[in-house]
């Protein structure tokens, strides 16, 4: 800890423009990557920047994106959620299975209710019992996967009449020429971004993530705040399940396996720190899109699918170093 009287770097003292530019670069380094990558890909593949391809990528990214919006809130609140993958399996299997049994409306309502209940269990264990979120959600990852399998008996679930149900709207529909999954993703991102940046609730979440102790000493109900972030996360998962179930019109029991890590990778690429108290939804949106475009771009260029993982790794390392280099540069320029 720096003592109180040590002058802090980065105080604006003049040369505002230059400092402003540098800090912009360091904050938006990931955007630079994003644009560079888009340019490189568009050189190698004609279709890459076509409108239909971009729409495809964004639509594909929207499921991860919708979940990432919720997980970002959990992370800003100072915790992690690794259970979203299993939860996605759970919700998708549930809504698809119930669709034919109790009708789409009831299925959707019940699915949302049960998903939120699982979120509430996470929230209770982490918010009120104050257990470590990493381990709790890891345990829930396993437990929920088991629940899905017990529920379905291990069978795939399908919607019999795929043509004749309005349920198809969420995953396959278009509204004003834009795919509905993209609309849901966009709306949710904007909504949550507004909540986080413009409401007292959002401020409280930032405070709880930034310094839980001080938040409590300021009269903020920390436990409730943490609890609520898991409800938001669960709500987002339920939305994603709606899109996924409707898109595939069926589900396997492990459909969400591995999503938790892709979601985290997207959030990390966006540049949100995992320490809590900082981050934003729009960063996450960018990160998820980067992930989607890497995957799509490499595929269009004819590389095998696993190259995207290597590229993601390299980008994370580069982003981390770039951030560091920017900080260094700031130090060096003022020294001389």
């Amino acid at each position: 800890m720096a003592s109180a009287e040590q002058p802090k770097p980065g105080l604006p003292t003049g040369k505002l423009n230059k400092a402003g530019l540098m800090s912009f670069l360091s904050a938006q380094g990931i955007l630079v990557f994003f644009l560079l990558g888009m340019i490189v890909f568009s050189f190698f593949s004609e279709q890459f920047l076509s409108q239909s391809n971009i729409m495809t990528v964004v639509r594909q990214a929207s499921i991860i994106g919708i979940i990432a919006v919720g997980v970002t809130v959990v992370i800003i609140g100072g915790n992690l959620d690794l259970s979203v993958g299993s939860m996605l399996s759970f919700s998708t299997v549930l809504v698809v299975d119930l669709h034919d049994k109790i009708g789409p409306t009831n299925a959707i309502l019940l699915m949302f209710a049960l998903t939120l209940m699982i979120g509430a269990v996470n929230g209770f264990l982490i918010g009120f019992l104050r257990l470590n979120s990493l381990i709790v959600t890891l345990a829930m990852l396993s437990a929920i996967q088991g629940l899905v399998l017990i529920y379905s008996g291990g069978q795939n679930v399908d919607i019999a009449n795929q043509e004749g149900t309005w349920f198809a709207f969420f995953g396959r529909g278009y509204l004003g020429g834009i795919a509905v999954p993209i609309l849901i993703f966009g709306l949710l991102a904007i909504l949550v971004q507004i909540v986080m940046s413009r409401t007292g609730y959002g401020r409280r979440i930032f405070a709880v993530g930034g310094n839980p102790m001080a938040a409590v000493y300021s009269g903020i109900r920390k436990n409730w705040c943490v609890f609520s972030t898991y409800l938001i996360s669960a709500f987002c998962v339920a939305c994603a399940a709606l899109v996924l179930g409707s898109r595939v019109m069926g589900s396997q029991n492990n459909v969400g396996q591995g999503y938790e890590l892709l979601v985290l990778a997207g959030i990390i690429l966006g540049g949100t720190s995992l320490l809590g108290g900082a981050g934003s939804i729009w960063k996450t949106v960018i990160g998820v899109l980067i992930l989607g475009f890497i995957q799509n771009g490499l595929l269009l260029m004819g590389y095998p699918y696993y190259t995207q993982w290597i590229v993601t790794w390299v980008i994370i390392i580069l982003a981390v170093w770039l951030d560091l280099a920017n900080k260094r540069k700031r130090l060096l320029t003022t020294h001389s």
Partner: protein, 311 residues
């Protein structure tokens, strides 16, 4: 001594059948139950078949797709000295040493559904399952017929590194090149037996290639995912879809005329054949090494001959 007292103390847990001489105790370690309906249906069919056979006591284990865990389960079964082991290999090569250990312990091993590598054949009593290479060949022939020997196609394969996926792809690719050189295989990407993943792969294919005449998917689950994607892009009509392991969704799609054909493969047949093979081996019968059960082509023409799959 301690062991003895504990055994007497735990009488409850001891199965009654162990006392009977002519009852066989057969252990099965499956690949990954719950990952898709085929495997789940297989498991329940196996349990039903064992019940029907009467004199069989089964130990059902699931490796969850993890090779290391399957090896551990093999060791556990050897440790329990079951009479025979049925294994659905998570990997055709990595399980061989474990099979060899069972072999050395005098426990016959029956491999089910998915073959193991050549080197392991000496250690197994028999293989029972579909002929996946033949399935690939059949699919290639269907593709040829459907396209009249001309066209551009893509392939969505199963889990990378998994024997079934490799065999189907190999059979398909070799036969296709041989039977109709006019059909060009543009690209192969894995769909990991996952419908959503296959759907995504197909969406990318559709963007990348302006003309796709046919899709071969490693199973119907993925094939239907590809069909979904093509429908979304309004290109389903111009594309021939061919799969394998006919699922109920695939069966319905054939019925609707959206899907050209598939390979009919019943998990119930698969499970029953595996148990029967094991029982034959235990009965001392002379069992051939390779036991393939029938996996016929299924298209709109002969759809009526088959029941709708239960999975």
């Amino acid at each position: 001594m301690l062991k003895k007292t504990i055994i007497t103390a735990s009488m409850l847990a001891v199965s009654v059948t162990a006392a009977q001489a002519d009852t066989y105790r057969i252990g099965i370690t499956q690949n990954n139950v719950g990952v898709d309906s085929y495997q789940t249906t297989y498991e329940s069919a196996f349990e039903d078949a064992a019940e029907e056979a009467g004199n069989v006591d089964i130990v059902v284990l699931d490796a969850g797709g993890d090779v290391a865990r399957q090896i551990g389960q093999m060791q556990d079964l050897i440790q329990q000295q079951v009479d025979a082991i049925i294994i659905w290999p998570t990997n055709g090569q990595a399980v061989i040493p474990a099979i060899r250990q069972a072999h050395q312990a005098g426990i016959p091993v029956v491999v089910t559904n998915s073959k193991i590598a050549e080197a392991g054949l000496d250690f197994i009593a028999a293989f029972s399952g579909p002929d996946n290479v033949q399935q690939g060949i059949s699919s290639a022939e269907m593709m040829c017929d459907a396209l009249d020997g001309e066209g551009q196609i893509v392939q969505i394969s199963g889990q990378p590194g998994y024997t079934t996926a490799i065999e189907r792809a190999t059979g398909f690719e070799e036969r296709l090149a041989e039977a109709c050189p006019g059909v060009e295989l543009l690209e192969t990407q894995p769909g990991n037996w996952n419908r959503e993943r296959a759907q995504r792969v197909m969406e990318d294919f559709l963007t990348k290639y302006d003309r796709i005449d046919g899709v071969y998917a490693g199973d119907d689950n993925m094939g239907v995912g590809a069909l979904n994607a093509a429908k979304g892009a309004d290109r389903a009509d111009e594309i021939i879809f061919i799969g394998a392991t006919n699922f109920a969704v695939g069966y319905d799609a054939i019925e609707r005329g959206e899907y050209y054909g598939s390979i009919y493969q019943s998990p119930v047949d698969d499970a029953e054949a595996a148990l029967q093979t094991a029982l034959d081996v235990l009965a001392g019968e002379d069992v051939p090494k390779m036991n393939f059960f029938e996996t016929p082509k299924i298209t709109a023409e002969n759809l009526g001959e088959f029941d709708r799959p239960v999975f």
